[in-house]
Amino acid sequence: MQIDTTRHTNRLIVHVRETRIDAASAIEFKEQMRSITQSTALPVLLDLSCVTFIDSSGLGAVVAVRKALDPGRLLELAGLTPAVEKVFRLTRMDSVFPILPALPADLPDDLRDAV
């Protein structure tokens, strides 16, 4: 499972470069997220824009990641594709997690207007 991180305005942005978080990958997702989130104390923004499918095991893994963090530490989600958004909405997890409409720009400011 490929997961990498960037930083932007004092947030750790975690990019899931996988199309699925499902029963076949939920455990690995939890494990990788644990080691990634333990490496800093920054607020976390989980970039799900590559994830086109999540099932209840994947959802449970995201919940587990949230519960493993310090309660005061921010965990936001961004980039929900339609099928992922649907699963969060139907299980009301969209009211539990702060969900951003899209990723904040990760371009340097001076390039942001050039493109």
Partner: protein, 148 residues
């Protein structure tokens, strides 16, 4: 009346294993991507099928080996799904209620138990029976751009 031109039946046997379920879903939904179902219906169908299949792997077969038979039929009224397995029957012989309970405290959030809620929310004509050692689950995914 002859069947609609888009009527199509697909049959698939899947070993009881999470990776095999993933592979089967990818194969099925890649093929469906060029089929007659609108994107929203396809997403819905994949969610419901995934939950039903993963439950069989986890609960009906558990650590036992086994096979799951899936029959999909696309028609004008949607995607008709039949799933058969030879694992343990449902507890009490009936489908779980799938009621959602949201606690107030983050620490009490459940990490599972969403499966049947999703299946019930997203499917029509849901039926289950256990006969001759075989679990049979049937449902339909309505083909329409719903607001769900």
């Amino acid at each position: 009346m002859p069947s609609e031109p888009q009527d199509k039946t697909t049959r698939l046997t899947i070993p009881s294993d999470a990776h095999q379920v993933r592979l089967a879903l990818c194969t099925l939904f890649d093929a469906l991507a060029t089929g007659p179902l609108p994107p929203d219906t396809r997403d819905t169908a994949q969610i419901v099928l995934a939950e039903a299949l993963n439950n069989i792997v986890e609960h009906a077969y558990g650590t036992e080996r086994g096979e799951i038979e899936v029959t999909l039929h696309t028609s004008a009224t949607g995607l008709h799904c039949q799933i058969a397995d030879f694992g343990r029957p449902m507890p009490g012989g009936i489908l779980p209620e799938g009621r959602l309970s949201l606690p107030h405290l983050m620490a009490d959030l459940p990490e599972g138990g969403f499966g049947w809620h999703l299946i019930r929310s997203l499917s029509q004509d849901l039926r289950y029976r256990y006969e001759g050692g075989c679990n049979r689950l049937e449902f339909r995914i309505e083909s329409q751009q719903s607001a769900l």
